[in-house]
């Protein structure tokens, strides 16, 4: 594997990790918001 390929792999891994982090953060916020709404609407159990 050439240095160019290694650089490309690392660049892609970094950008995928960044996107994944953003998506996971958004997911946490969404679940929090859903929980609050469900409690407010009386689905809290």
């Amino acid at each position: 594997m050439t240095d160019d390929n290694l650089d490309l792999i690392r660049t892609r891994q970094r950008s995928r990790a960044r996107v994944m982090a953003v998506l996971l953060g958004a997911f946490v916020v969404l679940i929090f918001a859903i929980s609050i709404v469900k409690i407010k609407l009386g689905y809290g159990g």
Binding site: Q13, S15, V19, A33, I36, V37, L41
Partner: protein
């Protein structure tokens, strides 16, 4: 760069996004949203957003699994050859894992955040698109998009079920509109990309039965589609705003479909202008008809 080298690299996140067919997803999301907004029961904005997100993720997952299964066909068609799998930017296993994972995620989120009815319809739509349309029908019969069109017709029903928890006559009519809209929409496309389908060995109607039959079928399927689009008003399920807009748009659709139906393809160098026009208009038609339904429900 060779395909072997390319697939040895981890795929770019943009390629995963491309697997979800974002352009198709816009229509799916829009009709799902309209089904939800046309429902008589309001849904909390956060839950509404979540339901639409699940519909989008489910549609994206189905698109990814479709591309996973059809990478050989896609490689032979000019229109699809640049997709991540045929272009060698991603390996098939990644696409399969992504599609299955996203399907499960969308269903679990829909079940816990929304309700069982919406989850079941979403599951049926994903399975229908992947198993019935992609795996079973597409390579076997020219009726592939007629029956397979049902998969794309579920979103307004899911949106409605997300808001109300059940399915009544109105979402069934919305389903029928998209179901009957799919054949003239896809066959108009198939007429001007016929050579692509021929090269890929996909038995689309123009390839198997010829252009004459396809043109007649486009005209014939437009009639029940128009009836389905008109029905909500006389049945008292929508008001005059929807009725008038749907009638006007359907009239234009019918006129364009008749032009395509009675036309004969030029032996050489036919630019297929009326067919391309009908294809583009059919997309606009669906957006406007469903948009009119929401306007009618909220502003009438």
């Amino acid at each position: 760069m060779t395909t072997a080298t390319a697939t040895a690299l981890p795929a770019d996140w943009r390629d995963f996004l491309a697997l979800t067919k974002p352009r198709v997803m816009t229509l799916v999301v829009f009709t799902g949203l309209c089904g939800m907004l046309a429902a008589p029961v309001p849904i909390h904005p956060v839950l509404g957003f979540t339901a639409i997100l699940c519909i989008a993720l489910g549609a994206g997952a189905a698109g990814a699994l479709n591309q996973w299964y059809e990478s050989d066909i896609d490689a032979r068609m000019k229109r699809t050859a640049k997709r991540p799998l045929p272009a060698g930017r991603m390996d098939r296993q990644s696409a399969l894992h992504f599609g299955v994972g996203l399907s499960c995620f969308s269903l679990v989120l829909m079940y816990f955040a929304i309700n069982l009815a919406a989850t079941l319809i979403l599951a049926v739509s994903i399975l229908f698109y992947v198993l019935v349309y992609t795996v079973w029908l597409k390579r076997r019969t020219p009726q592939n998009i007629v029956i397979g069109g049902a998969a794309g017709a579920f979103p307004p029903m899911i949106g409605w079920a997300a808001a109300t928890g059940d399915v009544t006559l109105m979402p069934v009519l919305l389903f029928a509109i998209i179901f009957l809209w799919t054949p003239p929409h896809f066959w108009a496309l198939a007429l001007f990309v016929k050579t692509d389908y021929e090269a890929a060995g996909v038995p689309m109607l123009p390839v198997v039965s010829g252009e004459r039959t396809t043109r007649i079928q486009i005209g014939l399927y437009t009639i029940p589609m128009i009836v389905a689009a008109a029905l909500p008003w006389p049945l008292g399920l929508a008001g005059p705003i929807y009725g008038v807009v749907a009638a006007a748009l359907s009239g234009i659709f019918l006129a364009m479909a008749v032009v395509v139906a009675i036309r004969r393809t030029e032996p050489e160098g036919d630019a297929m202008v009326p067919e391309k026009r009908l294809f583009k208009y059919s997309i606009l038609y669906l957006f406007l008809v469903f948009g009119a339904l929401v306007v009618d429900r909220w502003f009438a």
